[in-house]
């Protein structure tokens, strides 16, 4: 029996023991929110502070309690059988549970996240996998994978996808890498990624290009992390200049999120730095802008107030204040105002030549 299966069994046994002793069983989950994380640059990621949410079995919680236990049982089976199940599939399996079934997928996702936190593992280890796509890769990287039928080694050269790209799989722990690139460029939008791929920017800059497609998935973060760790490559983030790009995308990439703090250890890239677009870039490059939306302003203020990462870096606080003062945001594709390939010919080379202008 795997260690994880044993852990699940232990938890179940403790619940049963409590019931036999006629006391109410409890399950203690780490509290998953920004208020329960610390940031230490030495470790480089959000860490749980240790606040716990104890769920006691009462009339009010009996439904969730039952669902959690049934989902735990499901996880145990997956782990023992080395099987996987998407979160959507887990939702459908619950339809067999009569009264205890989930009505909407967000409910089952929450229970899966709870279990994940309970055992301090990631859901993929429990056998639950997301639907989401992991991100795309192009450039000077060779991914070494296995053929799932023959077990034969496969060498995937990411320079050979032409105008296409290599797609990061959901589970990446078995991959190995070879690369001679100098850095990894993590890009927010698929549009910008396409432009750079089309013009083989990776060749010119000797780098690996990764499209995150918004907030990077866990697989994407883990993939970048391994590149950074194993190939000792610096990682530069190139995202829109707005609070969403800065915190939801970049901060999650670099230090993880409050919600998944229990697994940030594996799913963050402390080596990442923020290449752009910075608020100063808007000024320096005379970028066309849009006014900040209300939700942007709220997110920015919230970051200053509550985000341990921002609180740690004065540079970030200054940048946010600058952005709030300017009251505008700019997208990474805004460089097209000067010339379609301005970003390749001017912006990126100039920024790469001046890493001091990066934000931490």
């Amino acid at each position: 029996m795997s260690k994880l299966a044993a852990q699940i069994k232990d938890t179940a046994a403790s619940v049963r023991t409590k019931i036999q002793r006629r006391s109410k069983p409890t399950l203690a989950f780490p509290l998953r929110s920004l208020s329960n994380v610390n940031y230490h640059p030495k470790q480089g990621f959000f860490q749980l502070k240790g606040k716990k949410k104890v769920r006691t079995l009462t009339v009010g919680t009996v439904k969730t309690f039952a669902q959690t236990l049934r989902m735990m049982s499901q996880a145990k089976t997956l782990v023992e059988d080395d099987e996987i199940m998407t979160k959507r599939e887990a939702y459908y399996v619950s339809k067999n549970w009569q009264d205890a079934r989930f009505d909407e997928q967000p409910e089952s996702d929450t229970v899966i996240d709870d279990i994940e936190a309970l055992f301090q593992v990631n859901r993929e280890q429990l056998g639950f996998i997301p639907e989401e796509k992991g991100g795309e890769v192009a450039g000077k990287l060779v991914v070494i994978d296995r053929d799932s039928d023959t077990g034969k080694q496969l060498r995937i050269d990411c320079t050979k996808f032409g105008s296409g790209a290599y797609s990061i799989p959901i589970s990446i722990e078995h991959l190995k890498f070879e690369a001679k690139a100098k850095f990894v460029l993590a890009i927010e939008t698929a549009g910008m990624f396409q432009r750079l791929v089309k013009h083989n920017y990776w060749r010119k800059a000797n780098c690996i290009l990764i499209s995150m497609g918004g907030v990077p998935t866990r697989a994407c973060r883990r993939f970048i992390r391994r590149l950074a760790d194993e190939l000792k490559l610096p990682v530069y983030a190139f995202v829109d200049c707005d609070p969403y790009g800065m915190f939801n995308i970049y901060r999650t990439l670099k230090v993880g999120s409050g919600n998944a703090a229990h697994i940030n250890r594996y799913f963050c890239v402390p080596q990442a730095t923020f290449l752009g677009v910075t608020p100063q870039d808007i000024v320096d490059y005379k970028l066309p802008t849009h006014p900040l939306k209300e939700v942007d302003i709220k997110r920015a203020k919230d970051a200053i107030k509550n985000d341990p990462f921002v609180q740690h870096y004065k540079a970030w606080q200054d940048s946010i204040r600058q952005l709030l003062e300017m009251g505008v945001r700019a997208e990474q594709q805004a460089f097209a105002v000067h010339d379609l390939n301005y970003v390749i010919e001017h912006y990126l080379p100039e920024k790469l030549a001046a890493p001091k202008k990066f934000l931490p």
């Binding site: 039952a66 669902q67 735990m72 145990k76």
Partner: protein, 598 residues
């Protein structure tokens, strides 16, 4: 007022079939002002009926006498001079107005505003009289109400028949065809009728709208003949006109049957005859009622009690409730020779000692003659009375329905899950004793959404109109029903499956108008109603909360039992338990959660 003012019934135990006195003194006064004839006529009447009607005369004598010298009627009618009228000319237009004429013009004052209300009022007056008569004679009432459609669409014939004591032949014409003739106005005694106009006004309304006389059959004993009268009212003279007077064969022990044909509209629902009868049945569980609708449908409201209400005593007025004018009138009319004995004998709760104290305070000799007390002195006397501490009036003159019989009445007519009732101790407003009772019925077949229904009663008579003008309604609105587990929006009745009944028993119910539809807002009354409702409310709250708790714990049980098996299944799967072990877990968990409070 002295006992002697009671309507004298010629013989024996014959009770009072009351007609006249439903109308208040106030109105009577107004009517006669400025008319000599009225005064004279009243005097004449007094002669005729002996003690039967002196009150109206007394009430108005002062005014009447002042005007007596003015020969209004005798002034020959002259042609009016174009411009300024002289006193003589004006006098030529000044004529007596008979009460009957007055009511013909002002029928709304008596509850004959429209055909629908006229039907209800007619039945109400008839039934009230029947019940009063039966109770006074110690007979368990059985009343039959029949409405038959007339030849024309808007005409109905109403028949009200009772098993009461019957009426002496010679009294019949005046009781049914003379306004303001009756027994109840001049006494302080709890009864349904109190002013004395009801049935004769109904007869007059019928006569006005259809031209048909009122028909009465009455029998006072099984070995005496039944008399049949058909009567009209001479509206000018306010005197009965006899159309038919015959002896008939009527195969009953005794009783009275009144028939009136009138222009009316028969309707169901709110403020209908049916509602009136139903509410009467609730507050009078000792009454057996039959009702035949115009469609021929028969309804019976059965008896829930075989006991008659306790016979009430007549009381003398309490000094606090007497106004200056009435006091002066009483001074004039008393047979007492000295002021002290006047005070002692004409009022309740005045001992000779208290009488002496009052005289001292008023600085009038206690031996002075009451009739000679001048106006100034009467004023002082009045003030002195109100400055003296006098005991509250005795309250055994009241006959409340009683908590048990309210419950019986409610249970009989309303299907609910919970009933309660409260009878408050007697209290006093303006020298008049009164007693408040309240009852609630909740749940069951009552409509769950919408506002509570309020049933108001005065001396056991349902009040169907002018709900919002009534002191009882005010108290219901001002009660904080939310404290009693009901919902209530600001300024509104509470909502829910609820019927609220409020009863006021009093020797004199202070109605806001002559048609007896709403009780006046005396603070004492409002307070008593509120206290009664609050007590009912507290009991209701206990019931509702208990029921909610039971429902809640059942819901909890169901909920728990829905999910506990899944916990057991999950544990069995993870720990590879046997089915027996799984069953044990279910049992243990069920115990555990049902014991808990959260």
């Amino acid at each position: 007022m002295s006992v002697s003012r009671h309507v004298a019934m010629p013989s024996g135990p014959t009770p009072t079939y009351d007609e006249g006195a439903k109308f208040m003194g106030k109105a009577g006064k107004k009517l006669v002002k400025s008319k000599t004839k009225a005064a004279r006529k009243v005097k004449k009447k007094r002669g005729v009926t002996k003690k039967a009607e002196p009150e109206l005369a007394k009430a108005t004598r002062d005014e009447a006498e002042k005007l007596a010298r003015k020969p209004a009627e005798e002034t020959p009618a002259k042609k009016a001079v174009p411009h300024h009228s002289t006193a003589e000319e004006m006098a030529s237009r000044q004529r007596e107005i008979s009460v009957a004429e007055f009511f013909t013009k002002n029928r709304h004052l008596l509850g004959f505003d429209n055909p629908r209300k006229a039907l209800l009022t007619t039945i109400k007056e008839g039934v009230d009289n029947s019940l009063d008569a039966c109770e006074e004679a110690g007979i368990l009432p059985e009343v039959m109400v029949v409405i038959t459609p007339g030849k024309e669409e808007d005409r109905f014939r109403v028949t009200i028949e009772d098993n009461g004591p019957g009426i002496l032949k010679k009294q019949i014409p005046r009781i049914f065809a003379k306004l303001l003739y009756g027994s109840k106005f001049h006494r302080l005694k709890m009864s349904r009728g109190q002013q004395g106009i009801g049935i004769s006004a109904a007869g007059m309304y019928g006569q006005l709208t259809t031209g048909k006389p009122i028909s009465i059959i009455s029998k006072i004993s099984h070995n005496k003949p039944a008399h049949h009268y058909e009567l009209e009212i001479d509206t000018k003279r306010n005197e009965p006109r006899i159309i038919v007077d015959e002896t008939v064969d009527w195969p009953v022990q005794r009783g009275t049957k009144v028939e009136i044909e009138l222009e009316a509209k028969f309707q169901k629902g709110r403020q209908s005859v049916e509602e009136y009868l139903e509410q009467t049945a609730i507050a009078n569980p000792h009454v057996l009622l039959h009702f035949v609708t115009p469609d021929g449908e028969t309804k019976t409201y059965s008896r829930a009690s075989q006991e008659l209400p306790v016979e009430t005593r007549e009381i003398k007025p309490h000094p606090y409730g007497v106004e200056l004018g009435v006091l002066i009138k009483m001074l004039h009319e008393t047979k007492a020779r000295t002021l002290q004995s006047f005070l002692h004998s004409e009022f309740s709760r005045i001992s000779t000692q208290v009488a002496r104290m009052i005289c001292e305070k008023a600085k009038i000799s206690e031996r002075s003659s009451p009739t000679r007390i001048a106006r100034q002195e009467a004023d002082n006397l009045f003030k002195a009375i109100n400055q003296t501490r006098i005991m509250n009036p005795r309250t055994d003159c009241l006959s409340p329905i009683g908590e048990e019989l309210i419950l019986a009445g409610l249970k009989k007519q309303i299907e609910a899950d919970f009933y309660t009732s409260v009878t408050r101790p007697p209290s006093v407003y303006r020298g008049n004793p009164f007693q408040i009772e309240a009852g609630l019925a909740y749940g069951g077949s009552l409509q769950a959404d919408g506002l509570a229904r309020v049933l108001r009663y005065a001396n056991r008579v349902p009040l169907l109109y002018q709900q919002s003008a009534c002191a009882m309604t005010r108290s219901v609105l001002n009660t904080a029903w939310r404290n009693y587990a009901l919902s209530q929006s600001a300024g509104a009745l509470p909502s829910g499956p609820l019927v609220i009944i409020v009863h006021m028993a009093s020797v004199w119910v202070p109605f806001t108008s002559e048609s007896k539809e709403a009780v006046a807002h005396y603070p004492e009354i409002i307070k008593e109603v509120r206290l009664a409702l609050q007590e009912c409310g507290r009991r209701l709250a206990v019931f509702i909360r208990r029921r909610r708790k039971a429902a809640e714990s059942q819901r909890k049980k169901d909920y728990i039992q829905q999910y506990i098996p899944h916990i057991a299944i999950a544990l069995r799967e993870m720990l590879e338990l046997s089915e027996r072990q799984e069953t044990t877990i279910v049992k243990q968990l069920t115990d555990l959660l049902e014991r808990s409070h959260s």
